[in-house]
Symmetry: C2
């Protein structure tokens, strides 16, 4: 095994308590942290051109191993030059392990100590996903950041069940570390599990640090436990992670979730919320969420969010956006996705600015107050 | 009635036989002719941002009165500043009369000498479309170019049936001329009808010229009569239209249809083909049509059309476009629509260039030969 220290590294430029401002160097360029990663499930951030994602301010996108291994197939992606070339995203890409989707298949999947076997939701074909296979697939995809395969414990889970599941995940994490092909500027992240049980989270973090990873994710949250529980688990987990490695909270979340998690020392986030909500007509604005399908927008010439510089807000009115959704026009989801991704990236830029100026607490109070104020008054 | 000569005008910069190169001055800017107008049915060219349509080279887009009168309603569009503001297309817009869609409703519509009554395909609500109402709606929409309401004769139609229908359309054309509110830089176009009957086409053209319009459209073609018949009807119609007014062939067509119609003196075109085909995976390339859904593209790293500068062709491979369609990803229709609209605008630019250089015949032979050659060989 190649034991060179890779050039993948996170460096901090400002800290304030647990809050960290930094930058990750990778083989595919820099990731400014705290970072939000738009989800590009099947090698596309749904409804956006890659250039629009980049122009919105994203440094990195996420791809889903489960979807990509089925279509177009990881070996095909490799033959076509890897995921960066395939989807025309030259920047960093993080791929998940495929586990989350496979475990969501429930009766279509079977889990053993070896790994998972499952039937494709597309054509029923049978597939295997072990720690070793997940590493091979993510290597085919040429992921900048590879995630270990972990068992996604159901929520709620008893201490006994959460412990057994976490311990299996730790054994899988070690197998992933062994199977992962180290390359300069590439990274493998471990994932802390343990449900809502603080002692298990601590044990999981310590087990992962013992194995040694380039970064550490917190998994198994944002599964219905609520924000207070999530923050409590973060408070019990983050102190057990190394200071000098990036920390990634998986599948989170709403702007207020992100702001609270940054306060607890998280550097990276991903969530389908801005893209999925955008497709159904829900926008995230400076003043909270807006359902553009609501009839009160049909005669409103004002922009969706007057503080936003995206083209949905600078070129179009609420009345027009409402009309597009009412007619089922593709441009509606396209514009609202563009807006939501822009809003999330603007949020991250503000977060980074506030940390850099050592005023994160004051900034976050002010932001959350405005975000909670609710939409502008109807005309 | 305001009888000022409007500044709406077509001027020719080069002619060669029937072929004309020119420019239309309007209240909303210039239209270079021959021109292809992308169809923006419900105030959006499906799948494209307005800036993408403009960047592809389009000077003018088309809006559909039928769709817009139902959603969002023409009075709402007027209150919101007109269609240009509403859809953020400051350039020229042509709206159709609504007749074509209403007559397509068949049993949901009833036609009398007065006009049409019909039930909305959306909610069954009852509406009226007379020549006067069509003018009022298109005025609400602030159309740069308004089309007269005509009766769309079914194809095939006997001479007797086509004559009666054309004569009613001529009576409606006169009512439209009376009801149309003339404004500087705006225009009203008459529509020649008469089916495939040359004497009726001549009579219709003469009747319209007698009424007097700012431009003349040829309607009732591209309805299944075939290209030879269409060209024959154009040959029998165009000589009866004024030299100094723009001529618009409605609903046409494929690249070879356009090339042949330009040779016969047509200046303007519209068709859903590039947009609709794009959404279903059919691309128009320099070498004919390509169905990107075909499995032969799944490993092909080559661009869709190596001669095209659109982002579908410069940023992505056939394999990726195929993957997007296979997965039902929005980005597939977005990219193929962008490509097809770019291809059509590039075609028009080449047509204009060839006319300007007095080599239209040679150019068109060469273009049609390449277009007929078929797609590149599989890998």
């Amino acid at each position: 095994m190649d034991e060179r220290v890779t050039s993948f590294s996170w460096s901090s430029s400002a800290t304030s308590g647990a809050v960290r401002l930094g930058s990750i160097a990778t083989a595919h360029g820099e990731i400014r942290t705290p970072a939000f990663m738009p989800v590009g499930t099947a090698a596309t951030v749904k409804g956006l051109l890659p250039g629009q994602v980049r122009d919105a301010g994203a440094d990195i996108v996420l791809g889903n191993t489960y979807h990509l291994m089925l279509r177009p197939g990881s070996e095909r992606v490799r033959r076509l030059g890897g995921l960066h070339t395939f989807m025309n995203w030259p920047g960093p890409i993080l791929t998940d392990s495929g586990g989350f989707q496979v475990f969501s298949l429930k009766e279509l999947s079977k889990i053993t100590e070896e790994g998972a076997t499952f039937k494709s939701h597309i054509d029923g074909s049978k597939h295997e996903l072990t720690p070793e296979r997940s590493m091979a697939i993510q290597n085919d995809l040429d992921a900048t950041i590879t995630m270990v395969l972990d068992e996604c414990t159901e929520h709620p889970a008893t201490h006994e069940r959460a412990k057994a599941s976490m311990e299996r995940s730790m054994r899988w994490a070690a197998r992933c570390r062994d199977a992962f092909e180290r390359r300069e500027g590439y990274a493998l992240f471990g994932i802390v599990q343990g449900g809502v049980h603080e002692d298990l989270r601590k044990a999981s973090a310590e087990a992962l640090v013992e194995i040694g990873f380039d970064g550490y994710a917190v998994g198994g949250l944002a599964v219905g436990e609520g924000q207070d529980e999530m923050f409590r688990v973060l408070d019990a987990t983050v102190p057990h992670l190394p200071e000098d490695r990036p920390r990634y909270l998986m599948g989170v979340g709403r702007p207020d979730d992100i702001i609270g998690a940054v306060a607890r020392g998280i550097d990276m986030f991903d969530c389908v919320l801005p893209t999925r909500s955008g497709r159904t007509g829900q926008a995230f604005t400076r003043r909270g969420t807006v359902n553009i399908r609501n009839a009160r927008h049909q005669d409103d010439p004002r922009p969706l969010d007057e503080t936003c510089a995206c083209s949905a807000c600078t070129d179009h009115s609420r009345a027009y956006l409402h009309h597009l959704f009412r007619c089922g026009e593709m441009l509606g989801p396209m514009l609202l996705t563009l807006h939501n991704i822009t809003m999330y990236q603007d949020l991250m830029a503000e977060i980074r600015g506030a940390i850099g100026e050592e005023r994160y607490d004051a900034w976050s109070s002010s932001y959350l107050e405005e975000f909670g104020r609710g939409d502008v008054d109807p005309l």
